[in-house]
Every structure is written in structure tokens, then in C-alpha cells.
Amino acid sequence: MKTFFIKFLSILALFPLTAFAEWGLNMREGVTQISQRVYDLHMVTLWVVTVIGIVVFGIMFWSIFHHRKSKGVKPAKFSHSTTVEVIWTAIPLAIIIALAVPATKLLIDMEDTSGSQITVKATGYQWKWKYDYIDDDLTIFSVLDTKSTEVSQLNSGLNPMENENYLLDVDEPIVLPTNTKIRILTTAQDVIHAWWVPDLGWKRDAIPGFINDNWAVIDKPGTYRGQCAEICGKGHGYMPIVVKAVPMDEYRIWVAEKKQEAEAKKNTADMVLTMEELMTKGEAVYKAQCLACHQANGEGVPGVFPALAGSAVAIEPDQRLGHIHRIIYGKNLMPAFGEQLSDVDIAAVTTYERNAWGNDTGDIVQAKEVSEARNKK
């Protein structure tokens, strides 16, 4: 028994320490003053409990090694001492008060959202994030990148280890300006989510029907990644957050570009594509938006997510409009995609669903039809 234990300890001791450094053992210091202060308070508390632990367990082990029957010790009879009991009530109380003071100051500062320069609203969906740049009238949807989606399918046979940002990449990262007080509102569309980027030093729940406000001033330009932190169903592990922090002038340029892109997306109703073009585009949209529930093979998950392969809505000619409407407006658990996807995207994915996995209807849906469908509910 003892030799086993010694072997185990020696294995631990021989473990290359450099490897531990890369593994991330500790909280990140982050890139805001608040995250730095959170880290500092975390470290202070960690050291306080570590020292208490060493002292308390040290005394206990001293006792364990010396006060043994096998050493011929005769047990003492005492069972009470008011003095030491007062001491060991008072000391922990003092330590706790000493910790509560900096915690209170930090909490007060974290909750002070006044004086913010821009406001971004993050809305959690099953399973993606929508960001509204309130001051610029700009909306961005941010979904797990297709590469991670494919690798993360059950028994995909693909190796996640090849992608450093596996499950932490999105198709559309959000861009935020550095050295600016940004007010970040969190809310949700369907169930509770939580918006968390560790480098900003906090997370906050996104609750349907309620809006929470938070803030951050990012000191350093860079890309910061986070994840949804509140269980929100099947796709909980698959809705990351990517924030790109850039200087204010670059941020302005990005906003202008995105607004142009959004404008262009609005006017896709007149685009006419060939079958091949629609299928290629449709497959890309399907992988990004639909695959998580309806699966790569269109079979869905029995009892939870309906199949599209062989499903009436994706085959029957008289349900063609219903199919488009289902994508635009959603139904039951299925979210509405009308706001997120352009006419041509919806047309492409409808075409794809009506022709993939042996559905083979030969139907071609063009953007115009989607544009019209939007107007006749």
C-alpha cells in the first residue's frame, strides 16, 4: 500500500512543470481593470485559505503523528475551554471581515454602469447570440463556426485537437472599441443563458423578459473568447462568444462596413441563382444554422427535433410556402430565422432541404418567393 502511494506521489512530482504552465491552472487576469481587481481578490483569498489550511492541517497532522495509542499516549480528559473557543470564533470572524471590505468595494464598482459611451445588447437564443449595437442601429448574429460544428458531431471521426479554437470560434465575432466604457446589456429570447467572457472579469445571466446591465473598459486590443455559462438545452456547449477589441477608429470603420453589408443583405430579393449555386449556399447555411438540431443527415433527433429527410413539410408541393414560413417565423422550439437570414439565404436553405437526403423534389426556391412570403403570413 505504502509503496503504491509513494509511486503515485513521485509520478506527480516528475510531471513536467512546463506542461502545467500551458494548461491554465489559474484564473485569467483579463484585460480590464475590473478583471485585474477580481483576479487580485481571488489571489488574496486563495492565499488566505491556503495559509489557514496549512496551519490548521499542520496542527492536526502533528497531533495525528504524536497523539497515537501506539506511542503509548494516555488520553487526556479535557473537553472544554472557553478561552480557546472564543479565540477560534473571533479569528475567523476577523479574517472574514478583512475579506469582505475589498469585496464590497469591488462589487460597488462593478455594479456602476454610469457614464458608458456605447451600448451593446446581447440576446441569447437557443443556440446563438444576437448583438444589437443600440447607438448605431446595427444587428449581428453570432453562431458557432461551421468547422467546430462538423467536428463536434457525435462520432464525426474528425479530430478536435487540430483546432486551437475548437468550440470557441464564431462565424461573426463582435467588435468592440478599446479604452471605451461599453455598457453590455444581456437578455434572452427563449430560455436563460449567461454571457461570459473570462477576460472581461464577469458573467451575467441573460433572462427572457428581463434586461441586465453590465460594463467593461477593455484596455488591450485582442481577441477574447467565452461561452454561454447557463445550461440552455442541447446546444449549451455550442454557443461561444468572440469579442475583438480594436481602437475606436477601427471600430468606427467596422461599424460602417457592417451596416453596408446589412443594407446589401436586405436587398437580395432580386437575386436569381442556379440550382447548383442555391444548393452550395443552402448547404453552408444549413450547416451553420440548422445542423445542430436537424443533424447532418436531416434525420433530427427522435422525439426532440423532427426529421427533415422524408418529412412532408420538405417534400409536399402544397407545403412549400409553409416550409418557407417555418424558417422565417419558427414554430414551437424552432426559433425564427427571418430576422437573421437574408431572402437569398432562406431561399437557398429551403432549396437545399427540399433536395438533400433523398428529398429530391427538384424544387428551386428563389429569393423573390421568400420576399413575397414575408409579406403574406
Binding site: 489557514i52 472574514i96 458573467k203 445571466d205 449549451h236 422525439g303
Partner: protein, 527 residues
Amino acid sequence: MSTLAHDHDHAPSGLKRWIYSTNHKDIGTLYLIFALTMFFVGGAMAMIIRAELFQPGLQFVDPQFYNSMVTVHALIMIFGAVMPAGVGLANWMIPLMIGAPDMALPRMNNMSFWILPFGFALLISTLFMEGGGPAGGWTMYPPLVLQTGDAFPFLIFAIHFLGISSIMGAINIIATVFNMRAPGMSLMQMPLFVWTWVITSFLLIASLPVLAGAVTMLLTDKYFGTSFFDAAGGGDPVMFQHIFWFFGHPEVYILALPAFGIISQVIPAFSRKPLFGYASMVYATASIAILSFVVWAHHMFTVGMPLKGELFFMYATMLIAVPTGVKVFNWMATMWRGAMTFETPMLFAIAFVILFTIGGFSGLMLGMAPVDFQYHDTYFVVAHFHYVLLTGAVFALMSAVYYWLPKWTGYMYDEKLGKIHFWLSTISANVLFFPQHFLGLAGMPRRIPDYNIQFADFNMISSIGGFAYGLTQLLFVYIVIKCALGGKKAKDKAWEGARGLEWYVPSPAPHHTFETPPKLTKQMLET
């Protein structure tokens, strides 16, 4: 009288003995066997979780099933393993410790046990239903939980069953302790284990009806058009969290307080020295119980409470460290200058003190709201509550089983195997849960089936620890069965330093004990 006398040691035989039993020892045994069974069912689910997390990518289960494993594992371990094990010990030991012939309400005792198998049959059956088992976490937060399929009403009624069973058990314990103590035993002379169970019973009675209310409101929200928790109908999803955790935090102490009681029996026995600070132990337990009702919102610092609310719950939470500290110091002072030996119960008790305290340290860290914004809903929390519940509550239960097995079976268990079980459990549990602190701090959220590759190494280590811990528990079953079948005869007082009335009845304890109240001596009342 003598003509009417019959053999009181006669135990009915066959299946009916167990189904109709009103005997506290038989019902205690049923509870313990049930709890051990559920420990393995919940443990099997934990093995599925750790297998899936062994490496990044999805290898075994789809995310929906993974979520239902996370959910049902928690419900089974809390309501099916740890709580019934505690009630089983209470059933077996409280009458023996206070000199009572049986529990005060023996028929209710039978019913409160036999509800459990039905409750868990309902719960486990949901895994085979269309849409799968409940998958929104054991906390059942709406609106997510309302997306549960056919399993939903089964989940709610299973919770009702488990709640009713626990409330009846609690009433029984209170009635027994307040009415059936041997003449001459005052409340402040009861063994600490009895005290912790009295206080736990009050927690159960006060908190479980709140849970029943909360889940019933979920039921009406889903099927009867109410909007308690739906903002669109004027309700508030966060209100559920407040109600749930008003139950949920006392529940944490429902699991922990009986463990404190066990440790307060075992450490004096193997230190051959009276428990240090008996009165302060009782007061500390009561303080923890009272505080447990005013700290609930520390589970939900991130929902966006007003600043003043966050400050209140932070201060109240940090305050719990004081009475908990008193308990740990008292146990240490009990060991101090004792004449210790280290049989398996003592080993588990010492490991409990150290590892539960580590869980307490991370608890203090989590209680500080501004840093909790980083820790919340990460593996740091998972590590924290497994330190207090597995290496805490479960280790204490293991300690109790080894401590009282000789009294139950009449034989000593195999000490060598017991020690192997202890060392393997302690090492593997730490390999399992310590790295999860690092994972959480590095940014891994909890309740995700797949993760970024930066978390791969620690997850693999954690899984290896998990499999080792799971396998080790099979050894425990072997040890218990071996002990039940035979071995070295146990003395009435199986341990040299054991204190309390239970050691004044024969080993194994006969079917009926204390049919006439014992005449208490000073020695019998030592704590």
C-alpha cells in the same frame, strides 16, 4: 404476565418481513441498501459523463442525453443516495442511541421508505420516454425545464414522492427524539449524531414543502396556463430560482449536518477522549441551520440582483464560515492529546475533516460575490460541491457504515480491505475532483458535453480518477457482504473508545431492543 410472554427476538421471515416491517432496524437496513443501490445507479451515470468528457469531441452520447445524465445523476445522488443513507442511519441508530424501543411512528416509517422505490421508478422511467429524461439540470430552472417532453410530469411527481417521504421521515425523527428518550437523558446529553438529525429534520420540514410548491407552480405553468415564471404573462423566471434555492440551500445542510453528527461520534471513539466543546457543537449546528435559510441567493449572484441584495447575501454566506470553523476546530481539539488509532472509520473521518474543509475554503471563495462572477457555473463550482458532498457527506457515510457495521452484523469487517478501500477512494476522489478547480478557473463552464482542447489534459486526469473511484466502490460492496456473512465476532462494544448507549446492547443488535427503558449510568451518557 409470563404466560403471555413470547419470544421478542423473533423476526418475521421472508419477503413480508421487509414489506410490512415496522421495525426500525429492518427499515434502516432497507434504507441503507436502497441508498447503496442508488449510489451505483447515479454512479453509473457519472461514469457515462466522465467517459464522454475523457477527451474532446463527442464519442458516446448526444448532448441531449448528456444533459439528462447530468440532471438525473444529481437528483439520484441527492435524493436517492445521500438522503436515504442518512435516514437509514437515523432509523437504525437513533432509537439505540437514546434508549428507545423503536421509532415513535413505526407504520409511517414503513410508508416513508416504501414511497422511495416508486418515486425513483418514476424518475428513472423518464430516461426511456419520448424526448428523453429531464435535461435542464437538477435545479429545474424555467423556461428550459418546460421544454422537457413526456418526462416532465413524471419528474414533478417523482419530486413530490421524494419530498413526502423525507417529510414523513423527519416528523418521525422529531417525534422519536422528543418523546422516547430513556428516562434521565436530557436533550443536552444526547449524542451529537442525534442532535444533528433533529436539526436536519427541522430543515427538511421547513424546506421541502417550498420545493413542492415550486415544482407544482412549474406543473401549472406547463399544463394549466399559469405564468408564475413566464415574463410574457407577467411572471418572473428568476422567482423560481429564489423559491428553489430557499429550499436548495437548506438542502445542502440536510446532506451535511448528519455527516457532522457522524464525525462527532467517530473522532471521540478513536481518540479515546470526550468530544471537545459538546455545547458549542450543538449551537454551531443550530447556527448553521438558521443561517442556511438566509443565504440562498448566493447560488444566483449572476441573475442581476440589486447591489444591496448581493451585499446581504455575500455577508450572510461568509458568516457561515464561523460556526463551520468552530466545528472543525472542535474535532481537532478532540483529537489533540487523545490516544488515537486509525481503523477505517477514523481514516474516513480524518479525510472528511480535511477534504470537507477544502470544500469549505472554495465555498468561502464562491461566497464573495465579485469573484463569484468568474467562478459561477464553471467546473470550480463542480469541484467545490463534490468536495463537500462526496469527500464530505459520502465519506462520512462510509465512516458511519464501517463504525456501526459490527453492531449491525455482529461481525468485524475485514480491516485490511477497509483500509485499501479508504486509500483508493481518497486518492481517486482527489484525482477526480482536484483538477476540476483548475478547469473552472481556466474557464470551462459546467454542464457541457464537449470542450475546447485547452481543457483536454485535466479532463482526462479527472476521468481516470472517476473510473478508479467508481471501481473502488465495488470493493466496498464486497467488504459489506463479507462482513454480513461472517468474520471475527464483534464485542458488544466493538471499539475500545466507543461511546454511547448503542454499545450497551448485544452485537448484532437483536430485533427488539430497550423494550424496557435502560437505567442510565454516567458512563452511558458520555459523548
